[in-house]
């Protein structure tokens, strides 16, 4: 099942069906819009 992760600050969405698995992103991934880290995304 694919998930969408949303940045808590700016609302940037990472949709696994388009951009690949969340867990495959590197640990130092940051939001392309506002720079928050992976830990500050939430699953919707």
């Amino acid at each position: 099942m694919s998930e969408t992760h949303v940045c808590v600050v700016c609302g940037h969405e990472h949709d696994e069906t388009i951009e690949g698995k969340w867990n495959d992103l590197p640990a130092d991934f940051t939001c392309p819009e506002c720079g928050v880290g992976k830990e500050d995304y939430e699953v919707i």
């Binding site: 928050v36 880290g37 500050d40």
Partner: protein
Amino acid sequence: MSITLKNLESALAGESMAHIKYRYFARIARDEGFEDIAQHFEHTADQEIKHAWGHLDLLVGTPTTKECLQLAIMGETYEFTKMYPTFKAQAEQEGNAFAAKEIDHQISESQEHAAQFMEIMQKAEKRFTALAKVEERHAKAYEDLLNSLEFKQALLGGK
């Protein structure tokens, strides 16, 4: 409580009430076709807001946004846990079912407002925490740049 603080609270309540009443009166005047009178009520109502803000300034100062949310949560919680339940019981004692029903509605509205403010506060806290980490990374990046610049300058200076 000091008498002046008490008076400021009464003045705040009075000005707030006047504002709401004038808005209500403006609506009535407009419905009856008196646009100029409606506007006069609205103009005065706006001035009452400024008066009330003056009192609030002395009563609460300028709290942070977080403190404002906490004050709002406290106020709404007081309304639905203490104030309205007391009013409801008294309305029922008097056999005023109409008022009791209206108060019931107010209780659920206050509950909703408190929950909304709470949600906003939690969201804001999450954001501030996340942003603090980003700023820390920015600071670190500038520091690295500064260090490398100093290193380059040291190399150049050494030549």
